[in-house]
């Protein structure tokens, strides 16, 4: 039996990414008719290659209720088993509204999926990443997925693209301002160096930046550095209520290891440098060095330079 699945992504790249969940279900044996919905037409042709039967592009719509109204219409027309979106604030808002309208349960940031007969079983993190909740659904459901969690399915056939006129919104958009990027894109980085309260003054962060330079890393930080001390911009803040990172290597320097920080790091290898041998972060690290960062960092940087160049 073929199930309809509507996948939403505010940008085509996010649309592609979110479709990874549907691809996962496909791989698990489900037969799917996938419909995509996005808000931008840039790179739409790229998206069209990812096993969608049709993609709707909603024009000139940035407010959630506008989008939710159209999604709701599509929902009525297609009666999908799943409504999928990326785990972004935009998508979360929109999907919640559609879920409310159509009495759908909704699970955000699912990390795994499997099919069991008529049931689809999802898992997601709760309690600050300390626990996993296992959810069973037998009827239609809305779901959001973290970026790069599931692999999308590329096909050769091209999806049909249809443009949809916008709906009116109940609220008025006055202005949009792009956030200043600190230059760091820690979410995409393969190696991240994290700085914490172990650094005494802002100028001392240069020790970390020198290290990052040598190994090609981006520099992120713990909450106090971005939110309280404002030594780095907010988009460098690694935390579950801020940026979550998935690098190959994460080096935490002078960070004590609060759960909200640690659970935002999903890395292959974690290294910690802290002068307090009892710092909680060592429990969450693969390799730990108990040393004064002011003494150790220059040595590490020098040796890495020799090794890597």
């Amino acid at each position: 039996m073929v199930e309809n699945v509507i996948v939403f992504g505010e940008k085509p790249s996010l649309l592609i990414d979110a479709s990874g969940l549907a691809a996962e279900l496909l791989r698990n044996g489900m037969q799917i008719n996938m419909i995509g919905v996005t808000l931008q037409s840039e790179e739409i042709n790229e998206a069209a290659r990812y096993s969608f039967n049709k993609i709707y592009v909603i024009k000139d719509s940035i407010l959630p209720d506008q989008v939710a109204d159209i999604l709701s219409k599509l929902f009525n027309e297609n009666n999908p088993r799943l409504l999928i979106g990326p785990a972004t604030k935009t998508s979360n808002d929109i999907l919640s509204r559609v879920a409310a309208k159509h009495n759908l349960p909704m699970l955000t940031e699912v990390i795994s999926v499997l099919i069991n007969g008529n049931n689809i079983i999802f898992e997601r993190n709760i309690l600050g990443g300390r626990a996993i909740s296992r959810e069973v659904t037998s009827k239609s459901i809305a779901v959001t997925v973290p970026i790069k969690k599931f692999k999308p399915f590329e096909v050769t056939q091209h999806a049909q693209i249809e443009y949809v006129a916008p709906q009116a919104s109940r609220v008025k958009l006055l202005s949009v301002e792009e956030k200043k990027k600190g230059g760091a894109n820690i979410e995409a980085a393969e190696i991240v160096v994290g700085v914490g309260r172990g650094f005494r003054v802002k100028e001392d962060l240069k020790l970390a930046f020198e290290l990052a330079n040598v190994i090609g890393a981006q520099v992120g930080c713990s909450r106090p550095i971005a939110a309280d001390l404002k030594w780095l911009p907010e988009d460098a803040w690694i935390g579950i209520s801020s940026k979550k990172i998935r690098p190959k290597l994460y080096i935490a320097i002078g960070i004590s290891g609060a759960p909200q920080h640690i659970s935002a790091v999903d890395a292959k290898v974690i290294v910690s440098i802290n002068k307090d041998k009892n710092a909680p972060i060592f429990k969450y690290s693969d390799y730990g060095i108990v040393a004064d960062l002011y003494q150790f960092l220059p040595i590490l940087t020098k040796k890495l330079k020799e090794k890597i160049g």
Partner: protein
């Protein structure tokens, strides 16, 4: 005068994990605390009341079990909100709501709110701190059929024109959005620094009204949407926990680098 309804959740405190001797998670033993962003929402409501006058009503649904214990826990959370300056508190208590999902919770909240009156503003935290589903505000907005704005970092009220200007905080951009009132708004942790209630304020707040509703009293039934939570298990972290020890820092650095090369996360130049 602005009357505000605030939705708060008595959430599991992730810092207070309880396990039994075999390492199994004991959800029922964990204490509940006011969800962090809900506290910001209450704070915002109090500040609006301090500025414009009016009243603040707080609402909560008991969704964790066992029921008797959690009713006390939720009452305690509501008393905190009252101690911060809210005027009335309402709780929806029903066995059927234990382990409710956001859909069911939103239905109960909307019904309780409707039963007590009409408000100018409906606030909630952007997400609860225990399950972080981030759906309540948007769902309640649909159920109450009101304009809804999520992730508000700033709310500016223009009561003369019954409007609100909201700064919406998305990952890469900031949006200024204007809405008529009444409206539903969910707030981020950046909107304000919430006051912490003192024990003596909580004691004083015992004189303020706290009312409980059952689903019957609200005249609602929860729909069966084919979803339930099967289990919650503790995530075990497994890291190597190797502390690199050496005589000198030089040696320690060497050891670390060779391990990282071994693990393939650093590529040495050939």
């Amino acid at each position: 005068m602005v009357d505000t309804a605030v939705m708060v959740k008595a959430s599991l405190d992730a810092n207070m994990i309880r396990v039994d001797s075999s390492g199994r998670l004991l959800i029922e033993e964990m204490p509940l605390a006011i969800s962090e962003y809900d506290r910001n929402a209450v704070e915002e409501a109090i500040r609006i009341k301090e500025k414009f006058g009016g009243k603040v009503a707080v609402f909560s649904v008991v969704t964790w079990g066992p029921l008797t214990k959690r009713v006390n826990d939720t009452e305690s959370v509501l008393r905190e909100a009252l101690a911060m300056g809210a005027d009335e508190a309402y709780m929806v208590v029903d066995e059927k709501l234990i382990n409710a999902n956001p859909l069911q919770t939103a239905i109960a909240l909307a019904a309780a709110i409707k039963k007590t009156g009409n408000y100018d503003l409906y606030l909630a935290g952007e997400a609860s701190m225990d399950v972080i589903s981030a759906q309540i505000a948007a769902r309640v907005g649909v159920l109450l059929d009101l304009p809804t704005i999520t992730f508000a970092r700033t709310i500016e009220l223009d009561m003369a024109n019954k409007k609100a200007k909201v700064l919406r905080d998305l990952e890469d951009s900031l949006q200024w959005i204007e809405t008529s009132l009444p409206a539903v708004i969910s707030v981020t942790g950046e909107i304000n620094k919430a006051r912490l209630p003192m024990l003596l304020q909580i004691r004083r707040a015992f004189s303020k009204p706290l009312k409980k509703f059952t689903l019957n009293e609200l005249g609602i039934q929860l729909p069966d949407v084919g979803h339930f939570r099967e289990s919650i298990r503790l995530l075990t972290i497994s890291r190597k926990n190797i502390i690199i020890e050496a005589g000198t820092l030089d040696e320690a650095a060497e050891k670390l680098i060779s391990k990282l090369v071994e693990d393939g996360v650093i590529k040495p130049k050939m």
